[in-house]
């Protein structure tokens, strides 16, 4: 009897629901539910543009969260992302507005700065065996501090190319997508590919599963670990650039607390913080969930400041509980 026959004969209905992708599917279903509630509850919510706006408004968050997914998959964490985003907005705006550099050069410099910061943090984490939480916390202080060194004020961006990119819209009939939304989706697609079809991607999962085993299996653990922080740094820098397309300015106090949004998106998307398990597509759903919570609140339109926070908390809670209940329900 061949293995194929063997396994085929043993399949039951359970096997048709992919166990590994289940968390993502559950999240997706719940997202649909929330969307449905919004459509029923609020006028104008059903407009497809409202849905597309989630990507337009959160393109930068999606990119940052994709980078964070790599890090979390290896069992690490990157707290510096918010500050690096702010730093890239500051660097872009000051180089463009105050120094008058060419926009393409600025893009290269910004991405390089983010990647180098990530790379350095990765090296500290790996070679000196310091916990990622702390290294990236120091990175967070550092990047934020650099922002203030550049300027404590916000700096507008008037560069023609930048403005043109910011204003450009991809149109499909009545609907629009901004450049940053499209860039974010492209980054997402690349990440999906890397994580499931390259050696490096699989090494990321292996390191997250058990770093020691990965080492003993002869995998390039050091390279992988340093690479994920570099990727995260790169994604943060790119996210910062996308944010400048959104706001056309740089501000040192921008994106405070973004790291928590990114982590929340990754985890809501079904990735385990202990590493080794999760999908970057889940992260996209996580970003959508955060986006739709924000959209619901905006449509609601009369929450006071504190009720806004409480409402976010309650929605998060409801969401996570449902996720748990559905998954537990399947297990037994």
């Amino acid at each position: 009897m061949s293995t194929a026959e063997l396994t085929a004969s043993r399949r039951t209905w359970r096997d048709w629901v992919p166990t590994k992708q289940l968390p993502v599917l559950v999240t997706l279903a719940l997202f649909g539910l929330m969307y449905g509630v919004g459509v029923l509850q609020y006028r104008g919510f059903s407009d497809t543009q409202v849905f597309l706006n989630i990507f337009i408004d959160n393109g930068f968050l999606l990119v940052v969260a994709v980078g964070m997914t790599f890090v979390i998959l290896t069992g690490g964490i990157d707290l510096s992302v918010g500050s690096v985003v702010a730093l890239s907005t500051m660097v872009s705006s000051s180089l463009l507005t105050e120094k008058g550099w060419s926009p393409y050069l600025v893009m290269a410099v910004v991405l390089a700065i983010g990647s180098v910061l990530g790379f350095l943090m990765g090296c500290m984490i790996h070679y000196f065996d310091i916990q990622p939480f702390i290294v990236t916390l120091a990175g967070m202080f550092l990047a934020r501090g650099l922002c203030y060194i550049i300027s404590t004020d916000s700096i507008p961006i008037n560069d023609k190319t930048w403005v043109a990119i910011a204003d450009y819209k991809f149109r499909m009939g009545n609907y629009r997508l901004s450049v940053s939304a499209v860039v974010a989706l492209v980054v997402l697609a690349i990440a999906v590919w890397i994580l499931s079809y390259t050696k490096f991607g699989r090494n990321v999962y292996a390191v997250g599963g058990s770093e020691q085993s990965a080492l003993l299996m002869g995998l390039p653990v050091s390279r992988t670990k340093i690479a994920v922080y570099t990727i995260s740094g790169f994604c943060s820098a790119l996210g910062g650039m996308l944010l400048t397309f959104y706001t056309l300015s740089g501000y040192g106090r921008g994106a405070i607390g973004l790291e928590l949004d990114a982590i929340a998106a990754v985890v809501i998307g079904g990735t385990l913080l202990t590493g080794g398990s999760g999908y970057v597509l889940g992260t996209m759903v996580g970003v959508c969930v955060l986006g739709i919570i924000q959209t619901l609140i905006t449509f609601q339109g009369n929450l006071s400041s504190w009720w806004t926070k409480i409402f976010i908390g309650v929605l998060l809670f409801a969401f996570i509980m449902l996720q748990r209940v559905i998954r537990l329900g399947r297990k037994t």
Partner: protein, 353 residues
Amino acid sequence: MSVTTVIRHRFFWPVLALVVLLVSNVFFTPDFFKLEVRDGHLYGSLIDILRNGAPLILVATGMTVVIATGGIDLSVGSVVAIVAGLACYYISKQPDQNAVSGVLTAVALGLGLALLLGLWNGVLVAGIGIQPIVATLILMVAGRGLAQLITGGQIITINSDPYDLIGAGYLFTVPFAILVALFVVFLAVLLTRRTALGMLIESVGGNAEASRLAGIRSRRITIMVYVFCAFCAGIAGLMVSSDVSSANGNDAGLWIELDAILAVVIGGTSLLGGRFSIAGTVLGALIIQTLTTTIYTTGIPPEVTLLFKALVVTIVCLLQSPAFRAKVFRGRRRPVAPPATPASEEPKVEVPA
């Protein structure tokens, strides 16, 4: 004790960092170490560090045990704000704010609520099995809103001498806050090291499945640590509000969770759970508070503050890392061979002295 045993002690490097930080202040404030009695109580920079560091010490102590179980509690800052808000709100509604009974009720209410919030976190983590960072993120976000709801988004100012004692008062010339922090730390050490709790916590944090199969009620223990952590945060909340006689739902305890986690890690407890050291955490918290005070006294401009903080945190962590010390202090003994051609390496024979 020989010099090497001192250097080998795991607190050597953090203590050294603390001492260096303290001493560096002397160049800017010559009588930095001076302690005097003013108005019948101790006065001096060191006392300031201890008193201002007391809330952080408390929160970090609670955080230590949570982290030891492999968890994390992001909600402590919000708990600080909620408890501060509730206690001050209650006192502000009293006809006589100086009445001791009213203050005691306020304290009890605040701490009671803190226990409930801790229970909530604990149940989410241990009962329902949500990842700690997310479970406590819920309370971190919603709790801040709750605190603002209680205070109406305003600063509630109170004029209550008994309440002021907690954060700003003195007992036997020593700031009361220091005594409270000491007491809680002592209690935590007693609870974890005089009973078997500490070992069981470390076991759960080290290997949850093995602990379950050894018959440990890990669920109960996990809930307990979250409750304890929230309790500590609650006391810290009373302390910060009493210190300035007001509750500020927006700012109280903001980002204290990061400082607390930092203190825990500087103190040598791994974020992965397992072995923990409360003494180390206290040391870590003192380093952080000293750093803050140093920034104030040495006149580092606010724009540079964060860079300086990043620098110090990095140095402290590097010094603490055995890997770093091995690589840098003793020189690298083994040159790193290019992976592709390991065979071409000359053999390096070292005989330990």
